[in-house]
């Protein structure tokens, strides 16, 4: 009796395997529909895909009740602006942010480098101590990646992994490999390790980039038109343990350029950062108020507040 033949596994073409890998690289904040769109549009040269995603988000944002209501509620608090026009621009910018977060259409670091402007970069080198770059969820994403592209060694403290296998090509992967993030992997239990490692980097004179308004213990509410910014405690604790200089970093889009501004050092207080609290709070509030006045359409993080909750077990960021 003849032995049954084993049926060979169907061959997987490289294209199919690549698509599967790209699909599996989806971050939790992207809905499956948006992720499918991102995969399809990534074949286009920058900025075509980014523009298409922005237009789609602008149109669908006003059709989606929850997003429209949030955008309009925030837009109505901004003086001298048409609320509907601003709400539309906010929704479109959210799409641009979603596309830029994954560097849609940007094949390699040089593609991004050509469109970057950094103001105040000399402040990074002004003192011997470590530097905390304090960022906010406003403007284009990845100011830290932009600094890495420009040759700066910056260690980013992030909630979830950004260099998922299957999405970025070798030039981007090598940028991350040589300058890796500190990743909590979406697990609040990992923050201790991440914070401890960040502290060591600061004590060694390095640069640590982290979000002031992400997840974690609340430290301060800074009033702004449209609602307060909730500042979290992670960066403050790192400063307290290291004496690092704290430089707020804001970024905005100007046409095709991304302008990154590194602001002067926050006045943290010599002996006890808690004593300097009124001064650094005022300094941050002033910077953010100026940003909101100049670039309200880029304040998606304030309007939609997707990161407004604490990092508790089971926390998942809402999807775009």
């Amino acid at each position: 009796m003849a032995e049954p033949l084993e049926s060979p596994a169907p061959p997987t073409s490289p294209v199919r395997a690549g698509l599967i890998a790209r699909w599996r690289a989806r971050s939790a904040i992207y809905s499956p529909a948006v992720w499918a769109l991102m995969i399809a549009l990534d074949v286009l040269p920058w900025p075509w895909g980014e523009d298409i995603v922005a237009h789609l988000f602008g149109a669908t944002g006003l059709l989606r009740r929850d997003r429209r209501q949030r955008a309009l509620a925030w837009a109505r608090q901004q003086p001298d602006r048409s609320a509907w026009r601003l709400a539309h621009a906010l929704c479109a910018f959210l799409g641009r942010w979603a596309a830029r977060s994954k560097l849609l259409g940007l094949r390699e670091p040089d593609d991004l480098r050509r469109h970057l402007v950094v103001e105040g970069e000399e402040r990074l080198d002004a003192g011997g101590a470590g530097v905390i770059l304090l960022a906010f969820h406003i403007g284009p994403p990845n100011a830290d990646i932009a600094l890495k592209v420009l040759g700066r060694r910056v260690t980013s403290v992030v909630w979830g992994r950004r260099d998922q296998p299957g999405w970025w090509g070798p030039p981007w992967r090598s940028l991350f490999a040589s300058n890796p993030d500190l990743v909590a992997s979406g697990n609040p239990d990992r923050w201790l390790r991440v914070l401890y490692q960040a502290r060591r980097i600061l004590l060694d004179g390095g640069i640590v980039y982290l979000m002031a308004d992400g997840a974690g213990r609340e430290l301060a509410h800074l009033p702004l038109p449209g609602g307060p910014v909730i500042v979290r405690a992670g960066w403050f604790n790192l400063q307290r343990h290291t004496g690092a200089r704290v430089l707020p970093i804001l970024t905005h889009a100007e046409g095709r350029r991304q302008v990154i501004t590194i602001h002067p050092e926050l006045p943290m207080g010599e002996a006890d950062p808690a004593e300097g609290r009124p001064r650094w709070q005022d300094a941050i509030a002033s910077l953010l108020a100026d940003y909101v006045r100049r670039f309200p359409e880029q304040c998606f993080g304030l309007a939609f507040r997707p990161w407004g909750r604490a990092a508790e077990p089971g926390f998942t960021a809402p999807q775009v």
Binding site: L192, L195, Y196, R217
Partner: protein, 88 residues
């Protein structure tokens, strides 16, 4: 009858200093959780606690291996970690 662990007593005091009077459990116990239903330490408190232990015991932790979440749930876990790093 086993003698009380002096290392446990010192770690407990370090944790109590970090947590503050309002969050210290009534009875000292090795099985007391560091987080909910124990000292209620979040990641920022925990960093304060491990740095306080480093200073108190003259040790240095290794974050890659020592701060695995599954290894650091209770006071006993922290005591064993301090002991493993040479704390007495």
């Amino acid at each position: 009858m086993t003698a009380p662990d002096p290392l446990l007593a010192r770690v407990w005091k370090t944790l109590a200093d970090v947590a503050g009077a309002g969050r210290v459990p009534a009875a000292a116990s090795a099985s007391c959780p560091l987080g909910p239903n124990g000292f209620w330490l979040d990641s920022i408190d925990l960093m304060d606690a491990v740095l306080a232990c480093e200073e108190a015991f003259g040790i240095r932790f290794e974050p890659e291996t020592d701060f695995d979440a599954s290894r650091l749930r209770t006071v006993a876990d922290l005591v064993e970690l301090v002991r493993a790093r040479g704390g007495k």
